[in-house]
């Protein structure tokens, strides 16, 4: 069935088709539509799951992990401040090695508080042990949830998976989405087998037990890391299987018109479709430009990036996030991945789309031009915030009303 769905609705459909058992929830904009949709299905007995509203995201993620540790399939969702409020438990659940899917609807972090998206929320969780899938379309949201369960529940992995979509640009945006049949999904995603780490009366199991000593701690943390690395291989198998079942690709990295491209955009999330559009227009103009978009951010597909970027002339890395005092996160991670290469492409770092700020076609074209000049001259420009003169004038206007003197005290 092909239907117009919002990204939030697509996430709910993913959970429904995965036949989840348990839905610990808590409302937050722009995620709330997901839990409202699921709550209605549960009330109408269209989804045989238990839904519990917790009093915070911290408790919500705790309940999610505890239920997964008991042995049921769990889905939960949050956004932004909620993800950060739950952060302590994200690390815990990964340490418990409990498989589940958490959908995060990205939204810029406070302060100042705002509603529109960027990726600082989800990137704050990048070291938590949650694997991360990043979506660019509503279809990918549904597909990502299904893939997420296969990945999380694979016995070689057994880590929680975070599926990310952008607030507003996907969460509230309708696009045609193919909703697979329940039978199709069942053929792809078998029922959850909790294995031996689960609670049953009459069988003593202690989970999430404290350790003493750095050696034991190192072992367990590193085991989670090894499982995450193993997830690269497992993801390849699962995405190939996904294509067989559904006819759609969900590769670790989307490659868009990259074959002969000498300059590439690298970015993630829904704004990357704007880059696709820009690539098409630049190709119309005869420029050899392409796009690489990681769907899999954890584990980080380093080798795939090396393979795809080896021999290219230049890359514009567009980060919709900002690591304060460092710069763009994707830029830093990509630079680290490419360091072993003998012939590395020129990397130019751009930070754009913070708090949902638009990235215009003209800006994509200008970035390609800057990268081309950097390649020609060998002079790499410093990182740039995508921010225009008119935006500055607008801020100045606001500041005049807000008062203040504009001098360092």
């Amino acid at each position: 069935m092909r239907k117009l769905l919002t990204g939030n609705s697509a996430a709910a459909w993913g959970a429904r088709l995965a036949e989840v058992d348990y839905l610990p929830v808590f409302p937050i904009t722009p995620q709330t539509e997901i839990i409202e949709t699921l709550a209605e299905w549960v009330d109408r007995s269209e989804l045989d799951a238990r839904l519990t509203t917790l009093e915070s995201e911290h408790s919500m993620v705790t309940a999610a992990g505890a239920a997964a540790a008991t042995g049921v399939r769990v889905f939960t969702a949050t956004s932004s401040q909620g993800l950060l409020y739950a952060m302590e438990m994200l690390y815990n659940l990964a340490g418990w090695r409990t498989p589940l899917v958490l959908v995060n609807v990205s939204r810029g972090l406070s302060a100042p508080i705002t509603l529109e998206p960027d990726h600082n929320d989800v990137l704050a969780a990048r070291d938590s042990g949650f694997l991360q899938l990043h979506c660019a379309t509503c279809q990918e949201v549904l597909d990502g949830v299904l893939l997420g369960y296969r990945l999380a529940e694979d016995m070689r992995v057994r880590l929680p998976v975070l599926v990310n979509l952008d607030g507003f640009y996907l969460s509230f945006t309708r696009e045609p989405v193919i909703i697979p049949t329940q039978d199709q999904v069942r053929a792809f995603l078998p029922p959850f087998d909790p294995g031996r780490n689960r609670f049953r009366g009459g069988e003593p199991v202690s989970q999430a037990v404290a350790v003493l000593g750095g050696g034991t701690y190192s072992y367990f943390r590193y085991q989670a890391h090894l499982a995450a690395l193993e997830a690269k291989k497992v993801f390849q198998e699962i995405s190939a299987d996904f294509k067989t079942h559904f006819g759609r690709a969900f590769d670790a990295i989307e490659t868009y018109r990259c074959e002969d491209a000498d300059i590439l955009f690298v970015m993630m999330g829904s704004f990357a479709t704007k880059a696709r559009e820009a690539v098409d227009r630049l190709r119309d103009d005869g420029r050899k430009v392409g796009l690489l978009r990681p769907r899999l951010l954890r584990p980080f597909p380093s080798q795939a990036f090396v393979r795809l970027l080896s021999g290219r002339a230049g890359v514009a890395v567009i980060d919709q996030n900002l690591s304060t005092g460092l710069g763009g996160v994707l830029y830093t991670e990509l630079a680290a991945a490419l360091y072993p290469l003998q012939r590395r492409p020129v990397l130019v770092s751009y930070v754009g789309g913070l708090g949902g700020r638009d990235i215009t076609a003209g800006e994509f074209y200008a970035m390609v031009e800057e990268v081309r000049q950097a390649v020609t001259t060998g002079r790499v420009p410093p990182p740039r915030l995508l921010f225009t003169e008119s935006e500055m004038q607008s801020v100045r206007g606001l500041q005049r009303i807000a008062g203040g003197k504009g001098r360092d005290a």
Partner: protein
Amino acid sequence: MSEQDVARTGKKRRQSPLGAGTPMCAGCGGLQALHQIYDLVGDKTVFVNAAGCMTLLSIYPFTPFPGSWLYTAMACAPAGAQGVRDALDVLLSKGRIRPEQDQLPVVLTGDGSAYGMGLSATSAAIDRGLDFLYICYDNEGYGNTGHQYSAATPTGARTATSRVDGYSGVKKDLFTIWSAHRPAYVATAIGTEPADLARKVKKALSLRGPRLLLVLAPCPTGWGFEPARMVEIGKLAVRTGIWPLKEYSDGAVQHTMVPSKRVAVEDYLHLQGRFRHLFVPVRNDDKLAALQLQVDDYWSHID
């Protein structure tokens, strides 16, 4: 009798279900109560723990529990119990486990979590009517970090963060806060009144819904007394009226042990290092009288 006697003779008749060998302090009043409670709740339980002294009951690969255990974090043990209960209900209703594989989620936290960081999660678990048992071992301070004052610390007690004049606040009335949620059952208890404790645990087990036990845990380390005096101090906490034993159910509060003639509060205080400053170098009559008055005032409202 030698170390080997117990193992060699094989003539043990009754061994405590909860295993020995934990790192709790010698003379821990909380552990003494937990043994009695565990004897009754049994091993078809998942103990869901919040950060506190008893987090160290289970240190990999050692656990005293013959049943199950899940450590969560300081703020959220009741939410963990919610997840376990909900998951078991789903498994039961979908026929994926047999009824005899069901378990009771039991939250186990100290006062630091119960009176403070975890209170929101507890309140919400009661709102939701969660079918669980909550055991708070109340040693009146953040014991596991060296006994700083918490919202459970009594007036005047010296702690690591009130070293000079003692705690200036008043012990929070968690029993009343919990009861105000109108859960199935709330009780105060202490391990040194075993009959009262056992009756309350049995009563809690006979009910469904949120059931909460607030257990005073005399703490040799944090309160400053010889471990051997743990039981004596626990009994004095009751006989002085400082720790009223009571229960809430069906909207009413009942006192379960009313001391016929209350022992003077200072008989309890002077045995503990945390109150020593009220007696030496000079006796602080005003403060001692004020502490006695707190207790008298409480009991003047009780029939």
